[in-house]
Amino acid sequence: MSDAMQAETITIAGHGGDEIEAYLARPLGEGTHPGVVVIHHMPGYDRETKEIARTFAVRGYAALCPNLFHRYAPGAKSGDAAAAARAAGGVPDEQCVGDVSGAVAHLKGLADANGKVGVIGYCSGGRQTYIVACTLDVDAAVDCYGGGVVVGADQLTPERPVAPIDMTPKLSCALLGLFGAEDANPSPEHVARMEAELTANAKTFEFHSYEGAGHAFFSVDRPNFNLEAAKDGWKQIWAFFGTHLS
């Protein structure tokens, strides 16, 4: 398989038709390719997330990461944009879903698309992935330690008005969940609650919780990086997307 790829910043139509920045990494090998929307973590649309997109492209997936913070600071550095989004109250769930919907449409419109699109998100992006998988028509979803899926009514806000766990009946695709057993949010209790809800609704899902790993164990430049969890996590991602997006 060719590992050649091309990566660049593009503009896509996001929520409400707004033009937003996005990072597209696509394989250059022959044939058709599945797509993956990469939802960045709370620290932003940063170098590390773009590296993840390129990793997918090397493995034969067209990866597109929409900048969910673009509206708050067009053209700004990722850290400044994240701060501006924070100051504005954060990204509303509806707006995120709209932006991801635009990313899915863009991927399906690529000339070499195979028609299948998955979604993966890290940290806050994991929570957003869960919501997207319960809202949009996608083919597979990977929630990497998304906190805030299981929340009480007292944690709902105008920007985040519905607890993602309550959206579970509408989950439309297979879900892979990758969690750290030492994480506080999602805690093992949160993960157990999600498993129970998914089982009760007869959904197709697969969860892996890694002993000794905390939050953000995939992040090679953060203190919680966990080599064994990250290695196995990537293995699970390749197997899962290989099954559902081929």
């Binding site: 973590h41 709370m42 620290p43 932003g44 708050y72 600071a73 700004a76 550095k77 850290g79 400044d80 944009a81 994240a82 701060a83 501006a84 924070r86 100051a87 109250g89 954060g90 940290c123 806050s124 929570r127 330690y145 906190g147 805030g148 944690q155 806000t157 985040r160 994480d183 506080a184 949010n185 999602p186 905390g214 939050h215 953000a216 953060r222 203190p223 919680n224």
Partner: protein, 90 residues
């Protein structure tokens, strides 16, 4: 974990940014993943003009929890000292 707890305090004063001093309008406070500091979570403060001007016009600090508590205590202790009380009375 990501937290969504963000509080904003109106502040008056000046901050020294990359392009010189600017007038402050607000301080955005949260405890979450930092951009640069070593801890997985940090007490973050963005000192901002308080309007929608250049998003790079801010002064950001990311402190570990113990440092943040120590700083908060020092600020309050300074403001509560008799010398400062006299100067800020009325």
């Amino acid at each position: 974990m990501c937290t969504y707890l963000t509080s904003t305090a109106p502040v008056a004063g000046s901050a020294l940014g990359a392009d010189g001093w600017f007038a402050l309008g607000q301080a955005v406070v949260y405890f979450d993943h930092p951009q640069d500091a070593a801890p997985e979570h940090a007490l973050c403060i963005d000192f901002r003009p308080g309007d929608d001007s250049d998003p790079s016009r801010r002064v950001a600090v990311e402190l570990d929890a113990a440092s943040a508590r120590s700083l908060a205590a020092q600020i309050l202790a300074t403001l509560d000292s008799e010398e400062v009380r006299v100067l800020t009375a009325g």
